[in-house]
């Protein structure tokens, strides 16, 4: 049977994500990750070629999910509905950040620990995702220079990704609402 085994990879990735989020890539040992899924140490090499490969796959997956979600939600060439597209991007990002705080944290912090061939690919996906936002914003603010829109986008990411730091302050629904309100306001007068 493959089914009980298939989960192992995902289990490991999930456990590693939590650990990386909490203590950072270099602060977590292979042993730690193994222990977190109930196996011990080098068993991980049956599923991943190494620690860096594990991180690489994790970041590629996150970046790909965000980019795909972004492309799906932002596809609105119509300027009239740019407002709606922005709302969709916002809600999508907030939902992701609230549902996967560990992934957001790792995505935000650990890119530098990915070895070079894959790092470019991840950066590219991150850039594509950000460009979805910039494109939508540039429809809303045609007069605003792109560099400013890019900086604003990163600032909004910083705001939305603050979630893991203020965890527990508010119930998720209230938090989502707050973030949506603040982000919309922040983007309302560029």
């Amino acid at each position: 049977m493959k089914t009980p085994t298939r989960n192992r990879r995902a289990e490991i990735l999930a456990a590693a994500a939590d650990l990386f989020a909490a203590r950072g890539f270099h602060g977590v040992s292979i042993e730690d990750i193994g222990a977190a899924v109930g196996v011990s140490g080098p068993a991980l090499y049956r599923h991943f070629s190494g620690k860096e490969a594990l991180l690489t796959e994790m970041l590629l997956d996150i970046s790909e999910r965000l980019r795909e979600q972004g492309a799906r939600l932002a596809t609105t060439a119509d300027p009239d509905t740019a407002e709606a597209a922005l709302d969709a991007l916002l809600s999508g990002h907030i939902e992701f950040a609230l549902n996967h705080p560990a992934l957001i944290r790792v995505h935000e912090r650990e890119l530098d620990n990915v070895p070079e061939p894959a790092r470019r690919a991840i950066r590219r996906l991150q850039r594509l995702y950000a460009e979805e936002w910039v494109t939508v914003l540039s429809e809303l603010y045609p007069a605003c220079p792109p560099a400013r829109l890019r900086a604003a986008t990163h600032a909004i990411f910083g705001l939305l990704n603050s979630t893991p730091r203020s965890a527990g302050e508010l119930p998720p629904e209230a938090m989502a609402d707050l973030l949506r309100t603040m982000a919309r306001a922040a983007l309302s007068r560029l």
Copy 2:
């Protein structure tokens, strides 16, 4: 002569801050830090009792500076000028973040690597700083529950601290302006 020597500690702290910001606490070796200031390796132990002590001092210094600046800028018991106090906090934080991106990054990320006695102290300073913001905001929005104000404050920190990630997109003055505008808007309808 003590003068040329006194700088060593500061030199080391500055170099370590840059390295920690770039590669994370565990990603930097004592050798690396030594090399960055032109001495090699264990020379650092003439100035700091260890790697953790170095980080501890760095974070204590940052937290203290922010707290002091916050206390100074927010001291305005008058509700009429709460708006002005908020502006002052905002400008102060932005200036700090733009002038010391590495410090902001370390401050944001490395608290978990500080050993326990000092960690509490740093957390306390960070909390005091955040409470300055919450106090000012609660004067502006007396009806808003404190938990929401706290979450909003952390979200604003996330926005303002995005600086190190969008470095180079905009000249510092334009960046400061953008952040001020976005933050003010984000806080305008809590």
